[in-house]
């Protein structure tokens, strides 16, 4: 029973299975196969796929709030970036005296801008576990405070979307400031290793990929646990008729706040996984356009499907990677066209459409015998 609840339908099962298999297969392939073999995956692809999976986790987090609670956050990139900065700060500290100036305490950018000592908010980031905790706590805290104000005063719908966008925009401007002590426009870069493992080593890359894949699978299971619980049903009720849920006595803002914070923490983890694989984190990650793009991944994959959102993220990013190399100068047309086409012709998204067709099919079979499977169906149907 519990497996059905957590894994969901056939798609979810396949999704988790593929992730786990990939997490196991990738190190094996890289260790035992050589470039000539058919199943060998070059490091370039490992890095690329690892980053896409980190994006997929972000999309999953976003789908949790948007697909199941109707909160369209246009600022989830901020949580993602904060998570990335947290781990980035740790990796900056890890460089230690190996930086270009050889200062054991200060990151390079602080040395050449004449900072004399480490700002207080950098304290503790030398410790990996502290930093790892921060990748969740910092985005979570921001989401909690932001959500506490916003949901309590019933800022909803497009208003919420727009202030989340303003939030990430303000953060972007703030992180661009060199006085903030986060490296300004260049951000944090020149990472060497994490927990003693050389980031440029093939093995580390493969390991990071596997960790990301497993994190994504875990994220999926957590999200499923939330949406299939009683709390999840209330979330869907809030999504579909917020006032009604409130009149029924539910403290709507608490449910929203919980799921928003949880989602932000997941986004933070995604960012923390993304940065070591990318090798740089800079304020550009806060750009509102990035957050909007994340929403689009969810829309392309299918809102309210969880694993669909992840698939959407991977598909759109794959398309982008391929097109920017293959048709530079034209890829924006293709991408823009894709967004328009998906919203017009596939309002449920790719996965959502397939799932819907599937469940319609089983529904028809089932109606002959019994009635609907309530939770499952409600959850997979987005509504305004």
């Amino acid at each position: 029973m519990i497996t059905t609840r957590l894994l969901g339908n056939w798609g979810g099962r396949a999704f988790v299975a593929i992730l786990v298999l990939a997490a196991i297969f990738m190190p094996l392939s890289n260790a035992f196969l050589s470039p000539g073999d058919a199943l060998y995956v070059p490091t370039t692809w490992v890095v690329l796929l690892g980053r896409w999976l980190a994006f997929a986790l972000l999309a999953l987090a976003l789908d949790l709030v948007w697909g199941y609670c109707g909160i369209l956050s246009l600022g989830h990139g901020a949580f993602f970036a904060l998570g990335g900065y947290a781990i980035g700060m740790h990796m900056m500290r890890e460089i230690g005296p190996r930086g270009v100036y050889g200062n054991p305490n200060l990151p390079d950018f602080m040395v050449f801008l004449n900072w004399s000592e480490l700002p207080w908010y950098w304290w503790g980031f030398g410790n990996f576990w502290f930093a790892a905790l921060m990748t969740m706590l910092v985005p979570g805290a921001l989401a909690f405070v932001f959500g506490w104000f916003a949901f309590r005063s019933r800022v909803t719908g497009v208003y919420l979307s727009i202030i989340t966008q303003a939030m990430t925009f303000a953060l972007m401007l703030a992180f661009f400031r060199n006085e903030m002590g986060f490296g300004g426009n260049n951000g944090l870069t020149d990472f060497r290793d994490v927990l003693g493992f050389d980031l440029r080593a093939r093995e580390t890359r493969v390991a990071l990929f596997s960790i990301t894949a497993l994190a994504l699978a875990t994220g999926y299971l957590v999200a499923r646990a939330v949406v299939t619980s009683k709390l999840g049903l209330v979330l869907v009720a809030i999504r579909d008729a917020e006032s009604r849920a409130r009149f029924l006595g539910y403290r709507v803002e608490r449910f929203k706040l919980f799921v928003f914070t949880l989602s932000a923490m997941m986004a933070g983890v995604a960012g923390a996984l993304y940065v070591p694989q990318t090798g740089i984190i800079n304020p550009g990650e806060f750009a509102p356009a990035n957050s909007i793009e994340a929403v689009i991944w969810v829309a392309v994959g299918g809102r309210g499907t969880l694993w669909g959102a992840a698939v959407g993220a991977v598909l759109v990013n794959a398309a982008k990677s391929w097109l920017t190399g293959f048709a530079p100068g034209l890829w924006l047309f293709a991408l823009g066209g894709l967004f328009v086409a998906v919203t017009l012709f596939l309002p449920r998204g790719l996965v959502g459409t397939v799932e819907h067709g599937w469940s319609a099919l089983t529904e028809r079979r089932r109606t002959a015998r019994d009635e609907k499977g309530a939770g499952e169906d409600l959850a997979s149907k987005p509504a305004e």
Binding site: L49, V100, R177, G184
Partner: protein, 447 residues
């Protein structure tokens, strides 16, 4: 994922055949093409500056093929679009080096895009030519910096203003990012230590990227400039923010005769978007101007116009940097007789090629090149008129002597030293050296 691999391969092959088809049409060069990667944004915010550089690289490569290619083999451009997205720069750089197997990459514009690709080039041992003036404080074995370091642009500029125009009061206005921050810090120290400028005679101002409302700042500059001492603005304002800045200067009637503005990021390309009538006399410091009157430059301009098919297109300093960088690479490959990365990197040092301003630029052991410094005044036709230039070329100080941390560092990539940040005091490669490295774990634990 297997699917994407195949798709990527097919796409790559398709692009390759299309491009090499053009190259092979010339009969002279034959054999396996030598691939050159071009990593400039063709979309997004930086496309405004970088697209031109992609074009100029294609022109240089076509030109080289006409001359018979390189080592008897044709050159082939591999163009990608990192879309002004920094992580994508790293991704595409990896793609170029690992999948397309290019022998050299010409690309990046902003410092952050260079920082983002640097680890990739070091990991996969590639060669990058970086054509834009930048803040210095870097020297990588795998990167050749063909743009100016701060001492090849900023310091001669303030020298000129102080000597020729008698400027005593300085506004350092910049966009809030690393290049202006570093340059202004260097200038601040230089002004105070070398020119004896007092603290209150320096005003430093930072604005966000793409700042478009300059009313208050221009008025502040005017106020600052009304102390009776001659005042100048040293502008490290970047990109798009310049047009509204200059428009506001013109509107508030700040003429170059009152308060000259000297810019390090405003070239012919940026001026193409402004009516320069009211800006005559404002200055810029570069290593090249389109107006430079040499045969090499006129030939280059003619070639550019013919290639791009538009007589109105301008040339600018980063284009010259690519011109120099490309010719240096060609010469180094010929010298090494191979495109092998290590051999070419070794052969690069000491290579000297003509620049477009009538002299020669040489690749120094610090992977930066020697450049003349030119100060130009804006003319009403959108061009710069050179009013001053250094007598010879200037060697880049990649580690600025005016910054606390980098005072003792040098870069030398020749055989015995082979180090990008050698500390001459401790005699160690890697900044402050090994002693500090040993103490570090203890400190780490203390935190």
């Amino acid at each position: 994922m297997k699917l994407f691999t195949t798709a990527g391969l097919v796409g790559g092959l398709f692009a390759a055949t299309m491009l090499s088809g053009a190259a092979l049409a010339q009969d002279a060069p034959s054999g396996e093409p030598i691939k050159v990667g071009i990593l400039h944004s063709l979309s997004g915010t930086m496309a405004i500056s970088e697209t031109t550089l992609k074009d100029v690289m294609e022109m240089l490569i076509a030109d080289q093929n006409e001359k018979g290619g390189l080592l008897g083999r044709p050159l082939e451009a591999v163009v990608v679009d990192p879309a002004s997205d920094w992580p994508r720069f790293a991704e595409q750089a990896r793609q170029l080096l690992a999948e397309d197997q290019v022998d050299a990459v010409f690309g990046a514009w902003t410092s952050v895009s260079r920082k983002s690709v640097l680890p990739v080039f070091e990991e996969l041992n590639g060669i990058l030519f970086y054509p834009v003036q930048y803040e210095g404080e870097e020297s990588s074995r795998n990167i050749f910096y063909t743009g100016a370091a701060p001492n090849q642009q900023a310091i001669p500029a303030v020298d000129y203003l102080a000597e020729e125009e008698g400027v005593e009061r300085w506004v350092l206005a910049g966009t809030d990012y690393v290049y202006p921050r570093t340059t202004n810090r260097i200038l601040e120290t230089y002004l105070k230590e070398e020119l004896g400028v007092a603290e209150e005679d320096i005003l430093i101002n930072y604005t966000p990227f793409g700042h478009s409302d300059w009313q208050s700042i221009v008025s502040e500059i005017q106020t600052f400039g009304s102390s009776g001492k001659r005042t100048a603005v040293v502008s490290t304002i970047n990109g798009d923010a310049n047009v509204p800045f200059y428009r506001e200067l013109a509107n508030q009637g700040v003429s170059a005769e009152d308060i000259p503005v000297i810019a390090f990021s405003v070239g012919e390309e940026e001026l193409a978007g402004i009516d320069t009538g009211p800006l005559v006399g404002h200055l810029a410091a570069w290593n090249y101007f389109m107006s430079v009157d040499t045969d090499e430059n006129l030939d280059f301009i003619d070639k550019w116009h013919a290639f791009i098919g538009d007589e109105d297109r301008v040339t600018n300093d980063p284009m010259e940097a690519h011109y120099i960088g490309f010719n240096m690479w060609v010469k180094a490959v010929e010298k090494a007789g191979t495109t092998d990365t290590d051999a070419v990197i070794d052969a690069m040092i000491g290579v000297s090629v003509p620049n477009l301003t009538g002299g020669f630029s040489a690749m120094m052991p610090n992977h930066h090149i020697t450049k003349p410094v030119l100060i130009g005044e804006i003319q009403d036709d959108g061009q710069f008129e050179t009013v001053w230039e250094t007598p010879g070329t200037v060697v880049a100080q990649e580690w600025s002597p005016y910054l606390e941390g980098s005072r003792d560092l040098i870069a030398d990539w020749r055989a015995p030293l082979s180090c990008g940040n050698f500390n001459v005091v401790t005699g160690q490669c890697g900044g402050q050296g090994a002693e500090a490295a040993e103490e570090a774990p203890a400190e780490e634990a203390a935190n």
